[in-house]
């Protein structure tokens, strides 16, 4: 008989797509999620908006973490395209970007982001804002 308690047993399984053109930043976000009990198998990564759209077509994504400045299709364009798809009309899309000007935040909110987080963001602060989606 085991008394071990899985502290993450209450964690909801969510497929998360991390979209950032920086591999360093994708790994930092992924490590934060894994440290908080998110299964590595639930994480997807994309280096730009077009790759993200391909993945979102194939997989049912439950949460998007989207950078703004990326080649090919930037984060703002990606958010608009995702929101135009009925299957992603309500899915949480969190923009995680260095773009700190007020007009950028306003533009992102108009495009349909659920939350806007300005980099640099410590892992604990990121989790504070997105952890609720896993409850």
């Amino acid at each position: 008989m085991s008394f071990a308690v899985d502290i993450w047993s209450e964690r909801k399984s969510m497929k998360v797509l991390i979209i950032d053109d920086s591999g360093v930043m994708r790994r930092i976000h992924a490590n934060t999620l894994k440290e908080h009990g998110v299964d590595a198998g639930d994480l997807r990564e994309a280096e730009d908006g077009t790759v993200a759209l391909d993945i979102a077509e194939r997989d049912d994504i439950d949460l998007f973490l989207v950078d703004w400045n990326m080649p090919k299709l930037d984060g703002l364009g990606l958010v608009k395209k995702l929101r135009a798809k009925p299957e992603y009309a309500e899915t949480p899309i969190i923009m995680v970007t260095s773009e700190a000007a007020k007009y950028n935040v306003v533009e992102a909110v108009k495009a349909g982001v659920t939350n806007y987080i300005i980099k640099p963001v410590r892992g604990d602060n990121l989790w504070q804002k997105i952890g609720k989606y896993f409850e």
């Binding site: 920086s22 360093v24 700190a100 000007a101």
Partner: protein
């Protein structure tokens, strides 16, 4: 170039290094670079466009670049490989993007970052605008943030 355009980049750099990475910075006095190509071995570059025009370059020695990106990712890199170059690009992206918050006189868009390395590279600074260098010392070596931004009329 107006002094008030420099402060947002200083604030963004100090926030990134001290608050996020826990690396204490000591800032030196900003000065106009007499030779705008006189930078360190690894430089991350972002172009600024929109209602003004300019560029920001974050420059490190090779050793400092490796240590900074290692600190950022909480890992240990030992060479100037693709991951470190990627990380330097992300650092200058954060500085430029964060500085926009306090550059309230104009709307400015930032380019994707580029990173150059070596001892003989050329940066294509905007013509006719001085480059102000802000030197910093840190426990992992020196760095500089170099800004060139056209004044608003």
């Amino acid at each position: 170039m107006k002094v008030k355009y420099i402060n947002p980049f200083i604030t963004a750099t100090v926030n990134l290094f001290e608050e996020y990475m826990g690396l204490k910075l000591t800032g030196g006095k900003p000065y106009v670079l007499s030779d705008p190509q006189n930078l360190m071995e690894v430089s991350g570059i972002i172009g600024l466009a929109g209602e003004t025009k300019g560029a920001v370059v974050l420059s490190f020695s090779r050793e400092t670049a490796i240590k900074v990106v290692s600190t950022m990712e909480k890992t240990t890199y030992t060479a100037l490989g693709g991951e470190v170059i990627d990380g330097v690009g992300e650092l200058v992206n954060i500085i430029a993007g964060n500085a926009k918050k306090d550059l309230t006189e104009f709307r400015v868009e930032i380019s994707l970052p580029g990173v150059v390395t070596g001892k003989a590279y050329q940066i294509h600074w905007p013509e006719g605008i001085p480059v102000v260098s802000i030197p910093f010392e840190s426990e992992i070596g020196p760095l500089s943030v170099n800004v060139s931004l056209r004044d608003m009329a």
